[in-house]
């Protein structure tokens, strides 16, 4: 197993974030309902996931593994993969608290030490989907899936990435950077490196890895959206007008 430079850097960043994320993790583990993103839009509305009962699921960049926990409660057999030991430590603590055991594996989603064709579903919510290089993690996700298996991942909205401010101020409507060439993002005020592609690049990358695009769900903040705690992300007013989050759904060719 090898770690890319950005994976190493993001592991450091997330080791620093881990203590403050533990509280949110406890809340998420306590939650029964599956929800998506910072606006907590219920899965029952978005229908991004298949029926997971009896399915082998890999969560790529699981962090504190709350998504895996939600899926385990619905009968899935999840494996959580994350590059940051401190985040997995929080996940283990919560597993013990809830008596909900499933494997947690320390690895980058760019290089996963698991066998080919061993999962029915690969999922990532603000995980590998934004913190790993898509040109590395999408081939890994495709490799891990069985024929007919599904890939579901949530990313920041593409328009949002054009409007995101450098100084952690909430974005406005101005386009602050070009669309062409979108890939690797480094920020003035933060050490982490994140990755975002344009729509055509996603479609070509998924197709090149034998994944058929099935849907792109552009998430709209609900009317009664509650404020989130991420200063760089838009307020509900913005996210009522433009999608601040997008879920891609793709299926490996049978």
């Amino acid at each position: 197993m090898s770690l890319s430079d950005h994976a190493r850097r993001n592991r450091e960043v997330w080791t620093g974030y881990a203590p403050e994320y533990a509280e949110g993790a406890a809340r998420a583990w306590a939650q029964e309902e599956i929800t998506w993103g910072v606006w907590h839009v219920p899965e029952s509305e978005l229908r991004a996931l298949p029926d997971v009962a009896g399915k082998d699921v890999v969560e790529l960049g699981c962090g504190t593994a709350y998504v895996s926990a939600w899926l385990a409660r619905r009968g899935a057999r999840p494996v959580g993969v994350d590059v940051t030991p401190a985040q997995l430590e929080t996940a283990r603590t919560l597993q013990a608290a809830y008596g909900l055991g499933f494997p947690l594996l320390e690895a980058s989603a760019e290089d996963v030490p698991l066998p080919d064709g061993s999962f029915d579903l690969a999922v990532s919510e603000y995980g590998a989907s934004i913190w790993c290089d898509p040109y590395r993690w999408i081939p890994e996700a495709a490799r891990l899936l069985r024929p007919g298996g599904e890939l579901v991942f949530l990313v920041n909205g593409t328009l949002l990435m054009l409007c995101m401010q450098e100084d952690e101020a909430s974005p406005g409507p101005e386009l602050l950077r070009p669309y062409f060439g979108m890939h690797r993002f480094e920020w003035a005020d933060e050490d982490g490196i994140d990755f975002h592609l344009g729509y055509g690049d996603w479609i070509r990358l998924l197709g090149a890895n034998g994944l058929d695009v099935e849907d792109l769900i552009e998430i709209r903040a609900p009317e009664d959206a509650k404020p989130h705690r991420y200063p760089a992300l838009p307020e509900a007013d913005w996210a009522r007008r433009w999608p601040s989050e997008e879920i891609w759904r793709a299926r490996k060719w049978a």
């Binding site: 593409t158 328009l159 054009l162 409007c163 409507p173 101005e174 386009l175 070009p178 669309y179 062409f180 344009g198 729509y199 055509g200 479609i203 070509r204 197709g207 058929d212 695009v213 099935e214 849907d215 792109l216 769900i217 552009e218 709209r220 009522r240 007008r241 433009w242 999608p243 997008e246």
Partner: protein, 247 residues
């Protein structure tokens, strides 16, 4: 022609009125989009020799003629009779003959599964309701057939300035609810957010093959867009080509 939707009638009136000026002034070529990017570079259509090709919104049949010369069996469709008169003249001049039909793309008077390729370059697909014309394209294509069409990106619509004649580095319009644009000249255009396009294609049996977001080269010239349009389109995609395969 009696079953045209109101927006198709409005668009037909515009094109009947504007066809002469458009064909005289716009130097339309068989190349993609407003900066005429060559098919030889983009390779959207592949080899068309021996294939049945339908062009939706053929205008003066510039594309149809180019594809017929590459061995395609072309049918040109346009809602404007005046545009088709230009197409007939162009065919005669080229020494070619293929069918031209006057109809909108939302209700095409041609049989199911009769084409291998449906193509439109800023044609009827930009002026017809996607929820009506995409099912028609799906019906007309044979299994394995290709639908390729160019038009505006949703981003370019969101950034349209108040006058509707240029683009700002700013989101001026909401993405949610995007779909139809009523122009001051009476024409009606359509564009969808990305996810809506994808769901619409999938619901009519199309696999998503590619999405080419076109970037004009430096110094590109266009009879449709000015320097400011070029500067904008060098940073953000103004036009896109969807490539879809009928299952």
């Amino acid at each position: 022609m009696s079953d045209l939707a109101p927006h198709e009638r409005a668009n037909r009136e515009f094109w009947d009125r504007e066809a002469d000026r458009y064909q005289a002034e716009q130097a339309v070529r068989a190349a993609w989009g407003v900066w005429s990017l060559p098919e030889e570079e983009l390779d959207v259509l592949g080899d068309v020799a021996g294939k049945d090709v339908l062009e939706l919104g053929c205008g003066a049949a510039q594309w149809g003629i180019a594809l017929a010369r590459r061995g395609a069996r072309v049918v040109g469709l346009d809602v404007s009779e005046r545009q088709l008169e230009h197409a007939r003249a162009a065919l005669a001049e080229a020494g070619l003959d293929f069918p031209l039909r006057c109809a909108g793309a939302e209700s095409v008077p041609l049989p199911d599964a009769s084409f291998d390729v449906v193509v439109s370059d800023w044609g009827a697909t930009a002026f017809c309701d996607p929820y009506a014309w995409v099912p028609e394209a799906a019906r007309l294509l044979r299994p394995g057939g290709l639908l390729a069409f160019s038009g505006a990106t949703p981003l370019s619509w969101l950034c349209l300035n108040a006058e509707g004649n240029g683009w700002d580095a700013r989101l001026n319009m909401d993405s949610f609810g995007l779909g139809r644009l009523d122009r001051p000249d009476g024409t009606v255009e359509f564009a969808l957010p990305m996810g809506e396009w994808i769901r619409l294609f999938r619901s009519h049996g199309f696999a998503i093959e590619d999405l080419l977001e076109l970037r004009p080269p430096e110094g590109a010239t266009s009879t449709f867009r000015d320097e400011r349009g070029l500067a904008w389109a060098r940073k953000w995609p103004l036009e896109q080509i969807w490539k879809l395969l009928k299952r």
